[in-house]
Subunit: 292 residues, 4 copies
């Protein structure tokens, strides 16, 4: 397939490289040209504008930071140039509301739209081990499958409405934050009780036996929040996406509210650029640990 | 060792059987004599009162439901009969406050006290796969090690104060409840968004890769809360233990408060005897799912 | 002064009438012409478009439902026509973020901007008993004082940045919601305890001795939520404004989060058009009252 | 009537003095004899033990700090000496559970029991301006009316079960805490937005027009939390009573949970002896105000 690819950062670059390896033709665009060097070497064509990238393609893929970045890239001149019948496969974590808007806009242009957010970190992207949640019209999801197979190790198709994939991704991210909040409170309790947090983590690992608990538990027990694997400010954005999705569907999410409030307190104390696991420090401070 | 064993229910019976297998002498007591039949066959001596059970023993083990049951059993005539120098190893999930009281009472009687709550379900007790969290004076914990090794697959020694083991157990239970609350909210969100909860669970399992998430996630996705593996009313008791431990240590636990409130709402709607995973139904009701 | 007035509903009509009585020249606009009949009789000039209304005026006043309505009215052609040096006095309850945007836009057009939200219901508007919170450049606030005096009984000037008046209004509305949430929980507790809520209200009135508690307490005790004095959906919007203001300023507002979640649950159960005091029914439902 | 009076502190002393003025015969007891001097001068008889105080009386009144103090005073020898047919009128703020226990104990001794907690501060006690919430068997409440009329300005009879008066008092106290929590959050928001909190208070007073808001609002705006009018640690105790009452009745009280968590954080930061309005400082700290 002939594919335009937008957003060639930590996640996007390895994904696009995998598309090239799978034999697809890739036209890449990034506002920061330095982030295109590697791809050009690997055989991608480089475009100088979003509109330039989508000329004559079968599919356009967006791997961008948020609603605004996708809006700026796709809902300007590019959507006028993207051929009728082409499909926009959006792998970014965007809001439910904006995903619905994208569906409407592409329909107005006789184009197709599939939401396919991915789970996994940059190393998983490199190793083709991402997990893809896809939603959209059945035929279009099928059409995008070769793309998904080129970037991931598994696909879960969750529905016929693209935004259903976004709500699934948002729900999955929320499960991770909830784990962090629970760690924040329980580690504060055991630490203030004089129990070594690493011993507590040994017990937690004994129960859950999950790599996610093990990795994040170590960050929290060590209180080592720099450098950030995932910035706390982005974590708060995702908590906000959960609350917005809850509001759209009239589903109260009191734990998401609690987490969002704690992210906000972390930001009020200057931790926006720390790893999002620094959420746990809010519970420590509330308990008066470390003179905080 | 010569060991008095109190509480021979689903958990206690297999634990006591393992002590027998390991070559210990066991004197068992239960208020319900039927629960002693199996042990008697396996070679245990049966006592007819708590005081009768502890005569001349090296150690007394309690595997009872809550503070009150341990109080009724140990803080009556039994503590007067338990020999000076003997050790009470309490494996029950009890409150921090009561654990401190037990330490004082045993010291007054020149006896020793070790808290050693266990993690695992009845089948784990049977298979010697429990995880033991122990705390108490170092020498006494060492002394109890053969007992712990006879019932579990691993031991984490968390401190010199017995109640530190209790706070560790309470913190670990809280992590489980937090997972349930997070599932309650996220499953409500995806269900109301028309996404099949089993597909969402597939994604969750893809992230956490944890048997605990997998087992509880299936219960929640199936909404199959009977029969109860662990009764919701007991879950609320454990949430209360977390809040009480937090109050003792001046550690606010807002997520534990949220969970306790949701357990209470579940009980107000008649779910005391359901599995504690029915906590998740509270989020579904708040979202207006199922006409609730 | 020559004044353009936008939004002549329950609140705006009596405010504009009071401006006429005070001798001001009023040019009124409303998308629904029927809402202008009374004002025309009283001597107002009627405009057929926002841009038509602001030609040659000294001041433009907006009394509209929300950010979007103010945006649609003022940030289209009208802002191009509003004379340089004129002042926009916005009395609507709008978000802090949008208030900042208005300040920038009017500055770009060499116009002035004062935020002056008002507290009080339609009868208070009629009787000139509104309370005005004003903020903006000192000179412009002084310039608007005759307008404020014509519509209210008191003015509190809270700062030099217009959005500070909005945050004050939002904080004041939040105090009202908080009272409702507290009533919801306490009335649920006493009702389920078999205490007549009207007797409980007698005690509450004995403590607070406040007309607001007395009026809302009666609505809650009677459970008479129709017709709505203030729609619940609008109440949720205001809770959202509080959360957005908190996010802007990095101030966590956990009680506002709790209230927003409860408004959302009320909406999930079909109460969007009830009086916002129906927020209290969420606590009753969580307690299993009325088979809910 | 011949009345035994227990607890002659800031509240109890003026209440007992008013009983003397109304012509009742008062036998007073206090563990701290210095607190009896004033009453002896005014004509009270002084007892040297609780049991000594209740010999031959018609009624016993308790105005003590908490469950434990009432238990220590009344459920020892005193209850054996209190005549059959006499009534215990308990004006203390005690838990619902303990109030039920008192009813059982007095019934076992063929005595009567009326719960009659009071609202008001020491100066109100002095001026006979307390508000009394009474509950119990109708005949016994009637019998106690002369006592209530001698100490208060109004009586609300809330039910036939004594504990219903306690739940009413607990609910009323909760309304006060909720106001403090709302002030904590809204004052943090306006302060961090650069608005003078005294100006915000002016607006709040304009809405609520309540002496309670006015008095507490000034404490919060001034941030003057010493000396304590009512100690924060006692405020947390009352929040705990609300949660316990909610648990008894299966009524979730999420706002009470939030407040209890915030009281706990205040205590973790050393504010146990400050005025309970220092609850509001927890919201300021979470927002990062004052470098906290």
């Amino acid at each position: 397939m002939k594919i335009a690819f937008f957003g060639t950062g930590n996640m996007g670059e390895p994904m696009a490289l995998n598309l090239l390896k799978a034999g697809h033709e890739v036209i890449a665009f990034n506002r920061t040209p330095a982030k295109l060097v590697q791809l050009e070497k690997a055989g991608a064509r480089i475009a100088h504008s979003p509109a330039g990238a989508v000329e004559g393609v079968d599919a356009a893929i967006t791997m961008l930071a948020n609603d605004q970045a996708v809006r700026d890239t796709m809902l300007g001149p590019a959507i006028e140039v993207l051929p009728a019948g082409a499909v926009h496969m959006c792998t970014s974590t965007i809001s439910v509301g904006f995903s619905k808007e994208l569906a409407v806009e592409h329909a107005r242009h006789a184009q197709h739209y599939v939401a396919a957010p991915v789970l996994g970190r940059p190393d998983a992207a490199r190793d083709k081990r991402l997990w893809v949640m896809a939603a959209g019209p059945r035929g279009q999801v099928e059409r995008c499958k070769p793309i998904m197979e080129a970037i991931g190790r598994g696909i879960t198709i969750v529905g016929a409405e693209p935004w259903q994939a976004n709500v699934t991704k948002i729900g999955a991210n929320f499960m991770l934050m909830a784990m962090l909040e629970a760690m924040g409170e329980s580690f504060a309790l055991v630490r203030k009780s004089g129990v070594d947090p690493h011993l507590f983590l040994e017990v937690i690992n004994g129960i859950f036996n999950s790599p996610v608990y093990s990795i994040y538990g170590k960050i929290v027990a060590d209180r080592q929040f720099e450098p950030a694997g995932f910035r706390l400010a982005l974590g708060m954005k995702d908590a906000g996406l959960a609350l917005a999705a809850g509001q759209d569907a009239a589903v109260p999410l009191p734990l998401a509210s609690l987490i969002h409030d704690h992210f906000l307190s972390a930001i009020a104390h200057g931790r926006a650029d720390a790893d999002w696991a620094a959420l746990t420090e809010v519970s420590a401070r509330a308990a008066g640990l470390d003179g905080a």
